[in-house]
Amino acid sequence: MPPEAILSARAISKRFGGLLALASVDFDVMRGDIFGIIGPNGAGKTTLFSCIAGALSPTSGEIFFRGERMNGLPNHTVVKRGMVRTHQIVRPFRQMTVAENISVAAHFGAGRRRGADADRSVRDILERTALAPDASALAGALTIGQLKRLEIARAMATEPQVICLDEVMGGLNPAEIVGAMALIRSIRDSGITVLMIEHHVHAVAGLSNRIMVLNFGQKIAEGPPQQVMNDPAVITAYLGAD
């Protein structure tokens, strides 16, 4: 695997009974990339994230993170090693406040912060994700835009080296999308490598330096945004063969 690659996947396959959700997917992500993953619904994108994050075990194939083999490691271990993912359908801790949600991640993520150190980290993330005014609000009472930001804030609080964002822009209005794009750029600028699954093709094209396209569990294209967007196979996958 290429030395600068922070995350590598080799021949990842995932089978659910009779359904082959992922078929031999390979890719490398370099440190500092914003790596976009797009594809029609059902292409296996979220499944891929689950395999990478340790929530699911791939049926076959290998995942390397910073040079170490990761398959089969439980979710919490993967997070402690520095790779975290957000969920497409947000999963906040509804009976905790925004600040408490973030502090759980700060305490038990890769950063393993304690005490005043953890509080500082939480305050910092509240600022960066514009959630400071809502810090004492219960997560169960937030709007979808705030919840999406909380999801990202929690992931950031684990102090990852790689963050996997699963459709964070889903359900956001245009103004919120602009804000999300700025946030993602600032995450990358702070030294974190970003993988993002997205349906908003323009947002992905604008942010990513490399994009991979999945369809029916297989990789059908990979490369810089312009190249991928004009790839006939990709166009066919989205629009259907004529």
Binding site: S50, A55, L56, H87, I89, Q95
Partner: protein, 301 residues
């Protein structure tokens, strides 16, 4: 040696019939409504007592009494569902724990009911044939056990016909497999749930009635049978009568085998069943019992 084996097999078979009837009562309620019905134990106990009451008051033969117990308990089940069913979805604790605790409360209430009506004294049913035995394949088997087996088989056949041949049965199976899809296909989930609860209660009552012919009982009884029912559902799944029957056979075989071939004292045999339940619950997280796959799938999202 061979005789022992035959004896074990026959005893296991007889026990399995009862176990399957008992387990099915639990299975249908969980399958259709995802409610873990701890009241099942109380309902079995009540079934025993009602059968006993019919016997001691009206001299009605317990097996004939089952014909009354079945429909009566079906109605009880439907009523219970109508009172409680709709509320069992709000929660702060996850819904299934809540339903478990509510049914647990119902169980306690039923126990008290029995204490009040019949007192805590041990009761048993003594008919003309209770102590008789019959020789089958060279093995001496108690007449009640054989009758219970026949009654169980009859109920299970009836159940199988119900599930396979009637609309109601198909609807129950559909909701068990996928509630949302079933509703989209036009199934009235609420009515099916009420029916399923009634059916489950009926089977609990019948199982209890059958048990009353084979052993003495107190209001406290039912807990070990409840745990055995869980064990069976976990082992054999609950989507079909065959699955439950297989689970029942496995448990019964293990119990009888243990009793005959090892020196584990009878008092500890229940502990062994519980251990088996525990092991079964833990060892089959993904496999055959759909009870489990469904739960695992739900948590993975």
């Amino acid at each position: 040696m061979q005789q022992q084996l035959v004896s074990v097999i026959l005893s296991a078979l007889l026990a399995a019939g009862l176990y399957a009837t008992m387990a099915y009562g639990l299975a249908v309620i969980y399958g259709v409504m995802r409610i873990i019905n701890l009241a099942h134990a109380g309902l079995m106990m009540l079934g025993a007592y009602v059968t006993f009451a019919l016997f001691s008051r009206f001299s009605l033969d317990p097996f004939a009494g089952l014909i009354i117990v079945g429909p009566f308990f079906f109605l009880v089940g439907v009523v219970l569902y109508r009172i409680m069913g709709s509320r069992l979805t709000r929660s702060n604790v996850s819904p299934s724990i809540e339903s478990l605790l509510v049914t647990f409360g119902i169980w306690l209430v039923l126990q008290n009911l029995a204490y009040v009506i019949w007192s805590g004294d041990t009761q048993s049913i003594l008919t003309s044939y209770t102590l008789k035995s019959v020789k089958i394949l060279g093995v001496r088997l108690g007449v009640p056990s054989v009758l219970v087996f026949l009654a169980s088989v009859a109920s299970l056949i009836f159940l199988n016909l119900l599930l396979k041949r009637t609309y109601l049965g198909k609807a129950i199976r559909a909701v068990t497999q996928n509630r949302d899809a079933a509703r989209l296909s036009g199934v009235d989930a609420d009515r099916i749930s009420a029916t399923a609860f009634g059916l489950g209660t009926a089977f609990a009552g019948i199982a209890g009635g059958m048990l009353s012919t084979m052993q003495a009982f107190t209001p406290d009884f039912g807990r070990s049978f409840l745990l055995k029912s869980f064990c069976i559902i976990v082992l054999g799944g609950m989507e079909s009568v065959t699955g439950v029957a297989v689970g029942a056979l496995v448990l019964a075989a293990m119990e009888n085998g243990l009793a005959v071939y090892t020196s584990v004292p009878t008092s500890l045999q229940d502990a062994v069943s519980f251990a088996l339940l525990f092991i079964a619950l833990v060892a089959f997280p993904q496999g055959l019992p759909s009870l489990f796959t469904r739960f695992a799938r739900r948590s993975f999202r």
